[in-house]
Amino acid sequence: MHYFVPDRPSPLPQDSQQQQYEGQQGMSRTLQMALQESREIVPSSSGSTASGSAQGGRTVEDVPQSALFPDGSRNFADEPREITAETKLSDLTDAQILQLTQELREEEIVKRPLISPVEPLSHLEEEYLHGSTTVVHKLQWLERQGWRGIRRTRGDGDCFYRSLAFSYVERLLLAPDPALAVAMSLSTLQDGRHLLDEAGFQELVYEDFYDVLVSLISAVVSPPAPGAPLLSGPQLLTAFQDAETSNSIVVYLRLLTSAYIRANEGDFLPYLFSPDTGDLLDVREFCEREVEASGKEADHVQEMALAKALRIKVRIAYIDSNPSGRGAEEGKVDFVTFESEGSADNGIHEIALLYRPGHFDVLETRDRE
């Protein structure tokens, strides 16, 4: 198969890719995600012996920005029949772009577990050694702050919800007083059901997803069956690697996020943009398209809503190849914190995520499982 996406480590330094990417304002968000994810998979030439582009495929970076959107309009007159490495991004229809994005995702799905064991953050650093030095500095800065590990999630658009959910249940497992933390969590989730009811979700539709999450959480302190062991760390990982369990929880968190946004419309209304068009959407449209729909990436609105609905504190380290702020320590990473009422005394530690454009992973203080 031939693709227009980079199929080899680009000779360009990561920084310049990044800037070019950010310059492509008109590009659809879906495509941006696909490109970002493909880049994230091969952050640099380190360790990768990719040589598949014998024909020296034209990469997205090679397409001059001016050719992408010359005057805000695109000429569809001679659409290519077959997409090859030579195909220009600007020649593709939205439908073709969507299809390519889906194919990219499906390929990734075959190759990466939904969520992986913790590995040292230095592994990620190695991947950027021949790419962005800014990213390497930022990762080193994180390590100096005590963030020594990363737990990767599959880049399938559900990564925010999956990373957060895993980390949430794990925090309950590691809580100083698990019984108290679990009780508070279950009570919060129970409250959340009212939000879902108010939002008009039918119990029949959501209860199966809810039950999966609640039984997993309950198993932290009470045996799932008489004589069965309590939930352990390895079992938690196995549960989240199981597509059925993992996706049920992701769906439930999407519904909870949606219900919270719907119930607190006033707080969110000015920020409900379509990432594709930049248009302001009404609450219902935003929730249906950007929150409930499978595989739709989360942005600030969703992140804040879910943190509040779960009454947790979430810190997100943003890693990109932009240099740290002027006068700041080299490699200093900005954390965005989402806090909510009750997150100080919910009995669990804050959740930390690592964000690289288009993808979330879990940030850990330990460097192995």
Binding site: M1, D7, I41, G52, L104, E119, D208, A243, V251, S294
Partner: protein, 179 residues
């Protein structure tokens, strides 16, 4: 394309994945069956006018046939369309595949019966069910999305409802009695 994924990540954990997927598929099948059973029950209990669906055979819960009747006051009034519904093994996390079996002249349906409907594509969510899909299709009949047509001729003709109806009737074939 494969080279895209040649990073240390996938090389480090191949065993984990292969150990994982088979069991999850098996479990998934059990829960899909439960969900589809619930949906079938829901469809039979509710009385949504003009829509119906049920499994083709008792042996296979993953392939259904359904019917949609055109809403009164639209060009599809009194016409009954047969559709096929195929559920993937990872339903409801992935949308079912739905096709018109009765030829349907419509801006968002192509000659092979493929349908362009957002909730079956990028707007799919696990909260949608066969019932919501059928109701959406029913309303799509009367309210096409002419901005993203699969049948451009039909989209262009939509503004002329009389001629449009002629085309609809010319393509239409009543569902056979033994179907």
């Amino acid at each position: 394309m494969d080279t895209l994924h040649t990073n240390s990540m996938s090389l480090r954990e191949p065993a984990l994945k292969s150990a994982q997927e088979p069991s999850s598929n098996k479990q998934a099948a059990g829960s899909v069956t439960k969900r589809l059973g619930n949906e079938l029950m829901g469809l039979m209990m509710s009385s949504s006018p003009g829509i119906s669906a049920f499994p083709k055979s008792d042996a296979n819960l993953f392939d259904w046939v359904g019917t949609i009747e055109g809403v009164a006051g639209t060009v599809y009034e009194d016409l009954k369309y047969k559709i096929s519904i195929h559920f993937p093994s990872n339903y409801p996390f992935v949308a079912p595949v739905i096709r018109f079996e009765t030829p349907c002249y419509h801006p968002n349906v192509d000659l092979h019966g493929n349908i362009c409907l957002d909730i079956l594509k990028d707007k799919w969510s696990a909260v949608y069910s066969v019932t919501t899909i059928l109701l959406s299709l029913q309303s799509l009949l009367g309210e096409p999305n002419n901005d993203s047509p699969l049948n451009t001729e039909a989209a262009d003709l939509w503004s002329n409802q009389e001629e449009f109806k002629e085309q609809v009737l010319r393509h239409y074939q009543p569902i056979a009695a033994d179907d």
